[in-house]
């Protein structure tokens, strides 16, 4: 294959693939996980949970972190988010990664969708 053809082909593939990946990453979500099913083996993995915010608090001095306690029918978990939202009592869907802080499992949210408030 000629160098020029290879160049054109790889450039086109790169652009098409980047557009396709952007579209898919914005529209595809993992399967919903029950909060009680989240365990240590899922550390650093993406989860998608649905529940009601039963409490919220603000942590940190310089950089504020907003913490929401999300509860479903089986369990509850702390969700960390870097934007200020008032969600107490709302039903939300949280997309984020599982992490451990002081031997407690928590979710670092990338996106919070409000279902009902």
């Amino acid at each position: 294959m000629k160098q020029k053809t290879l160049l054109k082909f790889s450039f086109t593939t790169t652009i098409v693939m980047l557009l396709l990946l952007t579209f898919l990453s914005m529209n595809l979500r993992p399967k919903e996980t029950k909060i009680s099913e989240i365990n240590e083996k899922m550390l650093n993995e993406w989860v998608y949970v649905k529940g009601t915010v039963v409490d919220e608090k603000v942590m940190g001095n310089e950089k504020k972190i907003y913490v929401f306690i999300v509860q479903d029918e089986d369990g509850k978990i702390e969700v960390f988010y870097d934007s200020n939202l008032t969600l107490n009592g709302c039903t939300v869907k949280v997309l984020g990664k599982v992490f451990q802080y002081k031997s407690k499992l928590e979710i670092e949210a990338k996106q919070i969708e409000i279902i009902k408030c």
Partner: protein, 394 residues
């Protein structure tokens, strides 16, 4: 004592396997061990993980140089390693990385007391300025390139691919398709298309001057120390930082540098765990789970087994290097490339999921594009640098 020694030997065997077989990382084995719920507070298990991890840092250059299948820490070694393989010096290239790893390990051990003493002060400082340091280094590297616009273009599109992949919830172990695509499958595809033939390999030990070795090691120590404190930054970013230090860096120096960085970063991650209590590699995280608080006595034991693993791994690397160098010319390289390409596709789909294949194809295209444009593959490290810069500055 016997159980510690047996754990050390088992760790070296496991590290050899994870190093040689493309796609299997020590983190995977460490995660499996943890999930098997071994007795907690077990020093033998920690010795196993330390020995496996150090051995892995020596052996993981083998698939990268001979097969063109890198892992996250050896991606940059492909280009100079493969170049030397095509000149019949694959064994020499591997030996240079092994020399670098061994010297790096000794240097890390010598510097350990200073590192332990200063780490708490360095931690805050590096954390604060890492984003700016990486922007400065990326700019320097792009400006050093003759085709600056293309270098910037490759840096940015690799960065976009990195951002998408690392934030894609349906892709597990995202570094696997990302780095294999950009650095591994792209090179294998080019070799397959261009019908590359591997010449007879010489079993010659490559010589490198003392001055060049000191230059390579000094920049490695600096950059490895810098990255050891931060999560998500590893040997590849340290290699980019080290490369920006010198105006000209030849392939031998580069291989010694990569070897030393790979081992120093791993060794220092255990020290950071001991001093600051933070885990910065998968192996350190596993040890943190097994030994929540490491005593001085336990740390000294781990250090001793790190040194022993390093010495043994050096000879293992030499043995397997000779073995691969003898065998590789007897195989049809074009079909070997095709088989490894298929293997990487299967491993990626199995471990990271079917959507990861799109990342692999995109990374391969960017790798081929970089080759066609005639610019250095290092700019593709934008795939990790751009997300790291955004994370540390936000």
């Amino acid at each position: 004592m016997l159980e510690l020694f047996l754990s050390f030997l088992a760790g070296v065997v496991a590290g050899t396997i994870t190093g040689i077989v493309p796609g299997i990382h020590v983190n995977l084995i460490a995660a499996i061990l943890i999930s098997l719920a071994f007795k907690p507070y077990s020093l033998p298990l920690a010795v196993f993980i330390v020995s496996m991890s150090i051995t892995h840092t020596f052996l993981d250059f083998l698939p990268s140089i001979f097969l063109g299948a890198p892992d996250e820490d050896t991606a940059l070694s492909i280009l100079p390693g493969h170049k030397m393989l095509l000149k019949g010096n694959g064994y020499g290239a591997l030996r240079l990385t092994a020399v670098g790893s061994l010297l790096g390990l000794f240097l890390a051990m010598i510097l350990l007391p200073f590192f332990i003493f200063f780490s708490s002060h360095l931690y805050g400082f590096i954390r604060k300025f890492m984003g700016y340091i990486l922007i400065f280094i990326s700019t320097v590297l792009i400006l050093k390139e003759r085709k600056k616009f293309f270098a910037l273009f490759i840096f940015l599109i690799s960065g976009i691919l990195g951002l998408i992949t690392l934030n894609f919830p349906l892709i597990k172990q995202p570094l696997l398709p990302l780095l294999n695509g950009l650095f591994g499958t792209s090179l294998l595809t080019i070799s397959f298309i261009q019908k590359v033939k591997i010449p007879k390999q010489k079993l010659k030990k490559e010589r490198i001057s003392k001055k060049e070795t000191i230059k390579a090691l000094s920049s490695s120590v600096f950059s490895s120390t810098l990255v050891s404190f931060l999560p998500g930054i590893g040997a590849s970013q340290a290699a980019v930082i080290s490369s920006s230090f010198w105006k000209r860096i030849n392939e031998k120096m580069f291989l010694v540098m990569l070897g030393s960085i790979n081992t120093i970063v791993m060794a220092l991650s255990f020290s950071v765990l001991y001093t600051v209590g933070k885990s910065r590699t998968g192996s350190a995280a596993a040890i943190q789970r097994i030994l929540p608080t490491i005593t001085s006595k336990e740390f000294i034991t781990l250090v001793l087994f790190m040194i022993l693993s390093g010495i043994l791994s050096f000879f293992l690397c030499d043995f397997f290097g000779r073995f691969f160098a003898r065998k590789i010319t007897r195989i049809n390289y074009r079909w070997l490339c095709f088989s490894i390409l298929m293997l990487i596709f299967i491993i990626t789909a199995t471990i990271s999921g079917p959507l990861a294949l799109l990342v692999l194809v995109c990374g391969t295209s960017i790798g081929i594009l970089t080759h066609c444009l005639g610019i250095r593959k290092m700019h593709m490290m934008g795939c990790l640098l751009v997300p790291t810069i955004i994370n540390t500055l936000s």
